[in-house]
Symmetry: C2
Subunit: 158 residues, 2 copies
DNA sequence: ATAATAGCTGAGTATATCTGTCAAGTATTT
DNA sequence: AAATACTTGACAGATATACTCAGCTATTAT
């Protein structure tokens, strides 16, 4: 359950590759393809989206390729995935494009919203820089292993 | 991204309905269908799986229906979803059925594993009882909003 | 016994999404 | 102007989703 599409996965791997080689000039799509084992044609689709989103920049012509548009500390995994797969939306009624008819009457609405918010917070907190450093991830809940409950979810940072 | 299938969603809603009416004798599939707006035929599929998993019990014949097999404090949302949709597996290489060829060489492996573990912890910590109480959910990360990082993920409970 | 109720099961199907490929560009540099 | 590299949109096969349907089995009330 809750699988990520390959587009998102490859997108993050591609971004990693670009970040890794930054400073050595633009990274060609061919290189990304070879290093990360993803076809050039498929990468074109993915990188095109990321470029339009302003996460990477491209340089045309011989010697061209892709480079980060910002410092890797300022690029989150969440942002990359959102551009490629749309926002986190556990259920269709939480998708901003669709909307929920009976928000208040639905017992589970808040459950899915809360889960979605957690995931979002995780993904937005994780930066490309962290991937580069191999600095990796002990989770949001460092504590007990059981969720923190409270009367109501209310506003949560976001 | 990361959408849950309707089977999982309906399953949780059905479990809620059964839990809500527990103490009034078995709940018929027809009632669940009407209250939760899911077709009888589709519910049969869903409830059948949950019954075989031992989460609910059924009584045949007139006056029959479904009831919880355990205290709602002991039934987690994670367990319900796992029976209906399989384990959380953000990527195919983290699916126990498939396995990963290059675990160590893959930079993103740990990222997805960590995200998956978080989700799992959230879902397993959330019990049917919590839904009943409308006692809902402030999330795993009560703190800063940024993920807690550490050198390596190491063993985490499970 | 038997009729009515209620759950049980597996097969089947339409639709949508995913996971790509292909072809024909356009822009830039040497 | 030739070579390199990115850009775009169309399209297609495979898989998964979201169901329905038909016919069955078990249980209880009369």
């Amino acid at each position: 359950m809750l699988r990520l599409s390959t587009k998102g996965q490859y997108g993050v791997r591609a971004m990693y590759e670009i970040a890794k080689c930054s400073g050595l000039g633009p990274v060609t799509i061919k290189r990304i393809s070879e290093e990360q084992h993803v076809s050039v044609a498929y990468l074109e689709q993915i990188l095109s989206k990321l470029r339009r989103a302003g996460i990477i920049k491209s340089v045309k012509g011989p010697g061209g390729g892709y480079m980060l548009a910002r410092d890797p500390k300022l690029i989150s995994i969440g942002e990359i995935l959102r551009e490629l797969e749309g926002p986190v939306a556990i259920t269709s009624c939480l998708d901003p494009k669709e909307g929920c008819v009976r928000v208040d009457s639905c017992v589970t609405h808040l459950l899915w919203k809360s889960l979605g918010d957690n995931i979002k917070r995780f993904l937005d907190g994780m930066k490309l820089q962290d991937l580069l450093q191999g600095d990796q991830f002990v989770a949001l809940a460092s504590k007990s292993g059981s969720a923190v409950k409270k009367g109501f979810s209310g506003r949560q940072g976001r």
